[in-house]
Amino acid sequence: MTLSIKDLPQEDLFGPGNAGCRGCGAAIAGRQAMKALGPRTIVSIPASCMATLSGSNQRTAWQVPFYHTLFEIAPAVAAGIRAALDAQGIRDVNVVSWAGDAGTADIGFQSLSGAAERNDAIIHVCYDNEMYMNTNGQTGSQTPLYAITSNQRKGKQTCKKDMLAIMLAHGIGYAASASISHPLDLIAKLKKAAARRSFSYVHILTPCYRGWGIPTDQSVAVARKAVECGLWELYEVEDGVRRRTYEPSFIPVAEYLAPQGRFKNLTADKIQEMQDAVNRYYHREEGKA
């Protein structure tokens, strides 16, 4: 059954009053995700923008329990919460560790890998703004090729690490990519993850206007361009079966890259190089945009 907006709960379990920057992609992802996860959810979030914007001391933007953890351990804390729920015989709660790209792929990676390998019954969500934004936008393993960051003014010289492939190598049952530009696809994937009682991984593209050098009103539009040009593929792997959940229209990658300040140094050659890589990946004819 396809999901419709009218079927979603109007109530916001995350969002109202959050202290995110204008147009924050991470906050949008949080709102969309909670439409899928529902009120019986516990969230653990490590040091990141999401932890900062969604609570401080005595105030919170969540309607569900939210634990702000140390940087390296959000999945381990989530696994511990699951164990405590199991010990009490509570079975109807989703436990989610929600981390940025550094909290997932770099600084938080060991505890993520451990939880995946143990097949702890949690959902790990990576909201990916492709930089260490809460400390002013340093390069990380999820920063894409050639993007300018606060500590690499000439742009990154290596490729983005493929986190879905790495997580799938743990033999997990469910992994998916998502984008805030395609909320119903995102919500359907989180609902699938929540229905399972095993480790799931969902990786969401969440643009950040400061890091990416875009106007605040473009966060969703630029995420959509990432999907439509083919650079951000929407897919899921469920019990070993891979399915692309959205067919891109293949707009030129330049339409995604050129408006972003972080790609302002890109030459026509490098844009063509990325276009060729997309064409090869999707087995499209050379020259066809």
């Binding site: 907006i5 109007q10 009053g17 995110g20 949008i28 709102r31 933007a61 309607q63 405590a84 106007p215």
Partner: protein
């Protein structure tokens, strides 16, 4: 016993909505026009959850809106216009030339 653990101080659920930071530095806000067909798509793109359907109509909760402008860009019918303003303790002031 797990159940005997002490109760630690924690924030009241949703308490940030009572004093939202973003609304204080807003410079523009959306006005929803008659072209709106209640598709609700904008409600999923607003970072603050400021767009709600009440009594069959879309409304903007100005106390939450931070003026990012995403809703106006995303509306397929271009039914949302961003209106420049100043906000302050006494409320919302549209810029003079935009007053009708």
């Amino acid at each position: 016993m797990i159940k005997d653990l002490p109760v630690v101080p924690s924030a009241k659920a949703g308490s940030m909505a009572a004093a939202p930071a973003g609304a204080a530095w807003r410079e523009q806000h959306p006005v929803i026009g008659t072209a709106c067909n209640q598709c609700l798509e904008c409600t999923l793109f607003c970072p603050e959850g400021a767009l709600v359907q009440t009594g069959g109509n879309m409304t903007v909760m100005l106390s939450l809106c931070n003026g990012c402008g995403i809703c106006a860009v995303e509306c397929r019918l271009q039914a949302i216009a961003m209106v420049r303003e100043y906000t302050g303790v006494s409320g919302v002031f549209p810029l003079r030339e935009e007053k009708v």
